[in-house]
Symmetry: C2
DNA sequence: CTGTTAGCGCTTTCAA
DNA sequence: TTGAAAGCGCTAACAG
């Protein structure tokens, strides 16, 4: 492995000049620069990352902390994030928390120890003292989080839920149920949209609220939905406002032999290719996952150069995509 | 940020002792060790990663290079990989290549510059000179690759395809088609299993082979499958031996109004929760994606400690899961 | 078992 | 514009 010294000797300049020429920071005599580049190429010189990182006190690495990359929503976010981070010359370290505050803490600790340039995270429901773990220097942006102290990228899912509920009501469905996880603060926002739609329609604000937990525990979504649908007066429309619950809900509906649209109106979070393979196809609230990733990446990167003051939020819109499952055919 | 020197001063020992006590490498007097730990805790000392990495000439980072993490198959692999890497104290850098040899090259270059401890990759179809980019010291394990020069983790999908074809034949389907991407070497193995099943059944070895490209280009799977199904003598069973093609194939079938199982027998790669939501549910060849990830991680990690000689392969089995789509009901 | 010391390879003042 | 030189913080010989 040739070092910068080898290059310096070969190009007959000082190491400082090599560094400058190769990084293009300060101006270097074109002729010298060329000599340096040639020497580097001939030696097959590659800068040593750790040495550079030590000296610069930072790295070209970003940490992306999500609950679980096997969820398509987070997979798309990571993809968007990696694409734009990489385009800017940054590597991304992937971290799956399973919403476990301990794992989250450890990931943040690693980010600090390794001097990562920034971190983007979906905070676990339990609040963590982020700054204690990263230092106030490291930019942190949160995704869909309750965090008041850091930049956020968020989706206006409240508005999207409202539109979905309005749509369901306009289709003539009578008893809507909203399936969420109330411990999660974003879900309370969605619930607000749900209620607002009822009020706007002049309906009693009594839309049923189904509380599910997504951990497969005692209140497994499939089990709870099955129970709900067995009710003497079951809902005739479901707004599944949580992507983790969509599949279990559809499974419960399928196993009871209910026909989407005709027997029960359904809208779920989020879109996926297979949802349009079901017959009828499933209506969705689609959040722009990839764009969330790219936006978050741009936001941390921006903090790296321009230290603006105050917290900055970016809100993205979700789309309501109406397909057969929420069209009421007699 | 306190450094190791601060700790040394506070604990009234040398920096070497601090390093030893905190890393547990060499034995240290228990009393001193305790003093060091306390001093470190009181100061909130965190070791500086880049400095350590520079000194050790390696990092606790692994690179995972896959085509696209938004494919559930690769998402599960990454998850398994991250889980076991993290448990061993390693971070993982995620890299999406889109099977682009250039991106692959760049990722390998970063791995070398940053002194990553190892890399696990799904090599792009085009062969890359891996060692030139990583140095012969860095362990590399390939996934599902043609690579003869490095450790491999692979799935015996040939056997699985054979079983699937046998199953389809035993159900009485007459004209099987195997949908693959022939430029990919693993697919030729699968094709061999397909042909073997025909021979074993005493059938003419003339199973149709459908050639698809997964890039959405002129031979988009959906388009090709639609064409195939419009044939005057179309196949009555499809073995979609490539996960990227499964959704397009099912879409083509659905849009032609064919009934799974009854009109056309179908088995696809790989399993996903939604495949059992379709009616009838879809039969699959299921590869153990998560286990592939964990196995690959263990393999690189093993290379890090014990430099065995020669290339080592680990083969995992795929399961045939029969559901309604390959049951021939009249 | 402990301390002293020499760097790892790079960037960046500081002078020239 | 260039070079000399001082470290970044840590680990690993090497001596004691």
């Amino acid at each position: 492995m040739p070092t910068i010294d080898d290059v310096a000797v070969k190009a007959q300049v000082s190491t400082a000049t090599v560094s400058r020429a190769l990084n293009g920071k300060s101006s270097v005599d074109p002729e010298l620069a060329e000599r340096v580049r040639r020497a580097a190429a001939e030696l097959g010189y590659q800068p040593n990352g750790p040495a550079r990182n030590l000296r610069r006190k930072t790295t070209a690495t970003l940490s992306l902390i999500v609950p679980d990359v096997t969820h398509p929503f987070y997979a798309s976010i990571s993809r968007g994030f990696e694409d734009t981070a990489r385009a800017a010359g940054y590597s991304v370290v992937l971290c799956n928390t399973d919403d476990d505050p301990d794992k989250e803490r450890r990931y943040l600790e690693v980010a600090r120890q390794e001097c990562f340039a920034g971190v983007v995270m979906c905070p676990a429901p339990t609040a963590t003292q982020i700054d204690d773990l990263t230092g106030p220097t490291t930019p942190v942006v949160t995704l869909d989080g309750a965090c008041e102290t850091h930049d956020r990228v968020l989706v206006d899912s409240r508005a999207a839920v409202e539109r979905a509920a309005v749509h369901l009501i306009s289709q003539g469905y009578q008893r809507l149920a909203c399936v969420i996880e109330p411990a999660c603060h974003t879900d309370t926002g969605r619930l607000a949209g749900f209620h607002r739609a009822h009020r706007a329609a002049g309906r009693a604000d009594d839309g049923q609220v189904v509380v599910c937990r997504a951990d497969g525990g005692p209140s497994d979504p499939y089990v709870m939905l099955t129970a709900l649908l067995s009710d003497p007066a079951p809902p005739d429309a479901l707004l599944v406002a949580r992507h983790e619950l969509a599949e279990g809900a559809l499974r419960a509906i399928a196993e009871r032999g209910l026909r989407l649209g005709a027997d029960i109106g359904v809208v779920v979070f989020d879109d996926a290719p297979w949802l349009s393979l079901l017959r009828p196809a499933v209506s969705v609230v689609s959040r722009p996952a990839y764009a969330i990733g790219t936006t978050a990446a741009r936001q941390v990167l921006a903090r790296l150069t321009a230290k603006s003051n105050g917290v900055e939020d970016t809100a993205l819109q979700a789309d309501l995509i109406v397909r057969g499952s929420s069209i009421r055919v007699p």
